[in-house]
């Protein structure tokens, strides 16, 4: 064989090995996004839950709910959504940067807190990092979304008509799909301008849409049903917790 032939063969082998390597790294990244982040997020959630439970056990629960002022990165509430699976719950962290969302659903800083007039807005991952909001599109009008704080429970209901399953109807729909830049969904009154005063106590969940993509956002709006249920009255949660 000629020397030129050897060079060509070596060059082609190098290209082949490079392509195999790139393919392997890309596959490994998919494994990372789909499985490894679940494990890491699971550990982070366990730690947050334990910390929060310990903190709450230490504090005495008064008759009137004490105002909460969470620091960014700190867990301050539990979200219970029976419609996402039996016993589904996650510790909610203050803040929506990647660091916070890697641990669990994150509360948009500056939006209302649980039970307050305005919009308690929470973002969460759809796929990867424990996939907290994977099945958010399965929630139907009237499904309960329960927020548990240090001394009270708040029951929100997905907006829309439970009889027909139609999300539209009221001024605020129960579910919608919007562009990532549509910040009006987390306004004090959802879909209104940010400066419009709140017209009720809303809860909004945001995640990416469609699954495995970040092209759009899936939004679920809910509204507070009744007032806070003090922990002293319902140590194991309100009846809505058993629905779904």
């Amino acid at each position: 064989m000629s020397r030129a032939g050897d060079l060509v063969r070596t060059g082609l082998r190098g290209v082949g090995q490079l392509l195999l390597t790139v393919g392997f790294v890309l596959l490994l990244f998919v494994v990372y996004e789909l499985y490894v982040t679940d494990i890491l997020a699971g550990q982070a959630q366990d730690e947050l839950s334990d910390e929060l439970r310990d903190e709450w056990d230490g504090a005495g629960s008064g008759a009137t709910p004490a105002p909460i002022t969470p620091e960014v990165g700190e867990a301050f509430a539990f979200l219970h959504v029976p419609g996402l699976g039996p016993g589904w719950n996650r510790a909610v962290v203050e803040g929506t940067s990647q660091d916070e969302l890697a641990q669990g659903p994150g509360h948009y800083v500056g939006t209302a807190l649980p039970g307050q007039q305005g919009n308690f807005a929470v973002a969460g991952h759809r796929v990867g990092r424990g996939s907290p909001f994977l099945d958010l599109d399965q929630l139907r009008p009237g499904d309960p979304i329960i927020v548990e704080t240090a001394d009270a429970w708040y029951v929100y209901r997905v907006l829309g008509d439970p009889a027909t399953g139609d999300f539209a109807g009221g001024p605020v729909p129960g579910q919608q799909i919007v562009a990532p830049s549509d910040v009006s969904v987390i306004s004090p009154t959802p879909l209104a301008a940010p400066e419009v005063p709140p017209s009720g106590a809303y809860l909004t969940l945001t995640t990416c849409h469609p699954k495995y993509s970040a092209r759009q956002r899936l939004i679920v709006h809910a509204v507070l049903e009744g007032g806070p249920v003090p922990r002293a009255d319902a140590p194991d949660g309100p009846p809505a917790l058993q629905e779904g």
Binding site: R13, G14, Q17, V25, L28, F29, V31, Y32, E33, V36, L40, T96, Q98, L101, G106, Y108, A123, G124, H125, R126, G128, R129, F133, V178, P180, S181, D182, V183, V185, I186, T206, T207, C208, Y212, A214, R217, I219
Partner: protein, 52 residues
């Protein structure tokens, strides 16, 4: 590159294969637990918030 590594691994074919497997696992672990966590926030796959 792989040819060069294979030539420099010690022992016979069995020992070479075992060392090669160890190398692959080490590189995979490095990617999964060190490299990917640092680079993924530069990618858009994990955006779930609404913002301007």
């Amino acid at each position: 590159m792989y040819t060069w590594i294979w030539r420099h691994l010690p022992g016979g074919t069995g020992s070479k294969a075992f060392c090669a497997l160890l190398l692959v696992l080490a590189v995979s672990a490095l990617l999964l637990f060190v490299v990917f966590p640092r680079v993924e926030h530069l990618l858009p796959f994990t955006d779930v918030t609404v913002d301007q």
